[in-house]
Subunit: 241 residues, 2 copies
Amino acid sequence: MASKVRLYVDHPLGEGQTVPLGRDQANYLFAVMRLPVGTVLSLINGRDGEWDAEVVEANKRAGVLRCLAQTRPLQLPPDVWLLFAPIKKERTAFIVEKATELGAAKIIPVQTDFTQSANRARQDKLQAHAVEATEQCGGTFVPEVEPLRTLANMLADWPSDRHLLFCDETLLEDPHEMADLPDGPWAIVIGPEGGFSNTEREALRNHRQSHPISLGPRILRADTAAVAALTLWQREKGDWA
Amino acid sequence: MASKVRLYVDHPLGEGQTVPLGRDQANYLFAVMRLPVGTVLSLINGRDGEWDAEVVEANKRAGVLRCLAQTRPLQLPPDVWLLFAPIKKERTAFIVEKATELGAAKIIPVQTDFTQSANRARQDKLQAHAVEATEQCGGTFVPEVEPLRTLANMLADWPSDRHLLFCDETLLEDPHEMADLPDGPWAIVIGPEGGFSNTEREALRNHRQSHPISLGPRILRADTAAVAALTLWQREKGDWA
């Protein structure tokens, strides 16, 4: 019993809507997976929810699907951003995958004082990881991966209504209960391997909208910290409640 | 400014104790990293805490270290086991790494009805991942990775004092607050990709010591679920409190 193929397309979805496929997707569906005309699969585009669609034309270089019916409405994640310092390629991809699964609304790579410049991941590659993770995890929303910015620039231009959950690796105990944190838009900030510089830590601690939390007594890798912080936030302030 | 090398050895550590190195470690330290005699590094063995030790003999095939002073005592994690169904090789290694970082006391791979048999990871390889993660995360305790057992066998022979945190992927809302869970030894159970079979789910739900929890409205991969569940448990019942 094969599970239904779930595919992201950058095309409007709606009843009776036809959806042309590009060469890569056509090759995957009709040459690799050998799906015949009439096969029903799931489509998402990040905006119109999830749709059943049937294959109406199938060849290795192109193909056409037609939407049948919506199977799930668009489900937006809570308004939480993840800011993280890019680490090694594989682990950066992992952070994007996990942030997508865990329901981040936006993913923002930030350059910190201790970010290795070799770790500048390509935005289009990271966005593709977010799309793939959405296909896999049954989601209908794809978080946007923004271009790399410096942490200093981000903080200088910080939106006045957005709270900052600052995962401070030097804190062994938590200064407050997660449940006591204010409502509203949030962003979670995870440091690079090697932590934040003293200047950055002071800036984050002293930021007007910043709420520092501890992630326990052990040293966590940046990718672990991202999953842990998103989990705690979703459970207390997000849509796991 | 290089950070100090941190090395696991299977040898007693204590003041003045000499520690012979095997060929692989000697090669790494003296041929690859080119550490000279007199270099001070950190040793752990999972039992005696963390020790500063200096290099007293260095050649590519062997070497000797001598312990100087203890830098950290042994810090045991809380008594929580992680039971998980092996998934693809890379992600299984990842689960072992994350469970070590997040302070699991024991890691137990379990065969479930939907576990792919191709995913039987070698115990010695998984144990090596736990050692490496301990070296990296600054820990002094290495969780034991047990041999693969079937979930049915484990449940039939379940220790009468150990609670079971059952991460039920079919639950969208949580039946209880984490804070209300009882004290005592715990185990966290994560399902395979594809979830538990109906028989397993019933057995887990009806188990006398079982406490089901939800991990939110999105489908999480098994590796994400492991990190999320350990985080929630550590924060409420473990040593993050």
